[in-house]
């Protein structure tokens, strides 16, 4: 078992509100091996975006990192000072955002934006930075880079803009890419192109990826491992194939079941009853228990940390056997 590149333990992010403390991330743990893609899946409000931003200290002003360790390449980022973090951001750890239209500076040419990293961080001269920028554009599959480099973001299509963002991320030669729903804003065909690009880059450059998404299909296609987040906690993790084929947490199972299947049409959509909890006052015991189809009396009290199962899997559910049995009875995934 190789040493993980990123090892996050018990991450906590808190917002101080007037009515109390909102724990957006409340004890999340996950890890990424070198050259591997980890998907973090969860619905809106699960804490996945905050967890990602907390890794490099980019939380909004109103939030704070309230605990946990973020071991990256031997350094605990949670305890690092701003200068160390700024050195790492854009360098060994880079971020790719969801909306390429808003994440690119609208009044700066894309070639200049890609060249900015090498220019400022690596100290390259203007011509060398420009050359590097064109190389990166070629690497991410932007055709006719010389012409496109002088374009402004609004002159490019969504797919090209996202490629530009990926090029910017790669400009610092990162070991880890943090992607926050990078394909959510794109249409499906372009989405496929970008995911293929990310996979090939991951293999060629041996860069690790943390891929946050609410889209299970995207995670299944792109990642080797998955961590499922609910209400600020990781409730299940493991290799994506086994987790999706035989989920061992009711939330994962419900998520998988709620995805409409083209081959098995239904008349009504399956949903998870209820709604996500108020993170300022989460339910006692297991946070999912009010909505859980397998709930029992012992789910209502106590703490439910992740426990190890075989095969590199973990789950927070103490009734995971019942859950797995149900998944086997009514398989969600036809083939994995």
């Amino acid at each position: 078992m190789t040493e993980p590149l990123l090892d996050v333990r018990d991450l906590r992010v808190e917002f101080s509100l007037a009515r109390g403390t909102l724990r957006a991330v409340d004890g999340a743990s996950f890890s990424v091996a070198p050259g591997e893609a980890l998907g973090i899946v969860g619905e809106s409000g699960s804490g996945k975006t905050m967890a990602l931003r907390a890794l490099v200290g980019l939380l909004p002003r109103t939030a704070k990192l309230a605990g946990g360790t973020v071991l990256f390449d031997g350094v605990d980022l949670a305890a690092a000072n701003e200068d160390t973090l700024r050195e790492i951001r854009g360098g060994s750890i880079a971020m790719v955002f969801q909306e390429p239209m808003t994440a690119l500076n609208p009044v700066m040419k894309v070639g200049d934006q890609i060249a900015e990293g090498p220019l400022v961080r690596l100290g390259l001269g203007r011509r060398a930075a420009r050359k590097r920028s064109l190389e990166l554009m070629q690497l991410v599959g932007i055709p006719d880079p010389a012409r496109r480099a002088d374009a402004y973001p609004h002159e490019l299509s969504g797919g090209l803009r996202q490629r530009v963002m990926i090029a910017i991320a790669l400009s610092g030669e990162p070991k880890l890419l943090l992607c926050d729903e990078p394909t959510t804003a794109l249409d499906v065909t372009i989405q496929d192109q970008i995911l293929t690009l990310l996979s090939s880059l991951r293999e060629r450059l041996q860069v690790s990826v943390v891929f946050v998404s609410h889209d299970l299909a995207v995670i299944a296609q792109t990642c080797q491992h998955v961590a499922v987040m609910y209400a600020g906690q990781v409730v299940e993790a493991g290799p994506v194939d086994t987790v999706f084929r035989e989920p061992r947490h009711p939330y994962t199972l419900s998520l998988l079941r709620s995805v409409p299947d083209v081959d098995a049409t239904r008349e009504t959509l399956l949903t998870i009853p209820g709604s996500p909890p108020d993170l300022a006052e989460p339910p006692p015991g297991c946070r999912f228990h009010p909505r859980c189809p397998f709930v029992q009396l012992d789910c209502v009290h106590g703490e439910f940390p992740l426990r190890m199962l075989g095969g590199g899997r973990t789950t927070a559910c103490i009734h995971h056997e019942a859950c797995a049995a149900d998944a086997r009875r009514q398989p969600v995934v036809a083939d994995a």
């Binding site: 002003r61 994440a103 500076n105 055709p143």
Partner: protein, 289 residues
């Protein structure tokens, strides 16, 4: 070529809005303003070529003359050619106005940028300073300052800068507060760029258009301030020609030679009109579609 490669190769350079270059001549206010101002500025620059009398040369034999071939607008009470004084005043007043806008622009923009970006105590201090200045009416404060500092061009710059920076600071700070929440600023931070780099290279180009648009309106106010100071004897000192001074000088002759005071007044109005139209046009053009 696979279908995927074809679609990427053909992805067009989608231009979603016409740039400034294509639109400026279709904006009537901009064209009108630029034309009027263009003519005035051109005359001011070419002053020695379009006038044939020295504006400060007195000729006590030919005072208060009406229009003639030698003096197209006549002469004033000291025999000075009105046309020459008019054109040279344009030179003086426009030059002072331009500089008196540039200094507050620079100081105010920097202050707004820093206060908006860092927030916290820096912002509180800046806001307090702004409130203090804004509490006073613009012209009253300027006149009071020049009165206290003494007349003269240098003190005009000082007074107008002290009073004028606040508008730019407020505008830029407001824009910065909006822009710094945009994702590209977060992306710049995620790329490990320094605060200075983010402020100068990313925020500034995105917030400065509003300041530029305002500067066009500001220059109107500033010209009026300069002319007012000149009228009150606090501004540009004689013998340097100045429209305000011309009006003050001509005041005594309002009943007999009304043109002495009225002509410079008309010149001021036309200049202000040109600048206002230009400001309107520029605001239209710079507004993101």
């Amino acid at each position: 070529m696979s279908a995927v490669a074809v679609s990427v190769a053909e992805a067009p350079l989608v231009s979603e809005r016409r740039g400034f270059r294509q639109r400026w001549y279709r904006t009537p206010s901009f064209v009108a303003g630029a034309s009027i101002l263009g003519v005035i500025v051109l005359l001011a620059i070419l002053a020695p070529l379009v006038t044939w009398h020295d504006p400060i040369q007195q000729d006590l034999v030919t005072i208060l003359q009406g229009p003639s071939w030698s003096h197209p607008l006549g002469t004033d009470d000291l025999g000075r050619d009105i046309w020459a004084r008019l054109v040279y005043s344009a030179r003086t007043d426009l030059r002072i106005a331009f500089l008196a806008v540039v200094f507050p622009f620079i100081i105010g923009t920097l202050a707004g940028l820093v206060a908006g970006y860092f927030g916290g105590r820096t912002d509180t201090i800046a806001n307090w300073l702004v409130s203090v200045v804004v509490a006073f009416p613009f012209y009253v404060l300027i006149i009071a300052l020049v009165f206290a500092l003494g007349p003269g061009t240098r003190n005009i710059y000082i007074a107008i800068t002290i009073v004028g920076w606040v508008s730019y600071a407020r505008i830029v700070r407001g824009e910065v507060l909006v822009q710094k929440r945009q994702e590209y600023v977060l992306a710049a931070r995620a790329a490990g760029l320094s605060n200075t780099r983010i402020m100068v290279r990313h925020l500034l180009p995105n917030v400065i258009t509003q300041a530029i648009v305002f500067s066009m309106s500001d220059i109107v106010l500033v010209i009026l301030a300069i002319v007012t100071l000149g009228y009150l004897g606090l501004g540009v000192q004689p013998p340097t020609p100045d429209w305000g001074r011309m009006i003050a000088d001509g005041q005594t002759y309002l009943t007999t030679n009304w043109e002495l005071a009225t002509i410079p007044g008309i010149a001021i109005v036309i200049t202000a009109l040109g600048l206002s139209l230009l400001a309107d046009g520029l605001a239209d053009l710079l507004r993101p579609e």
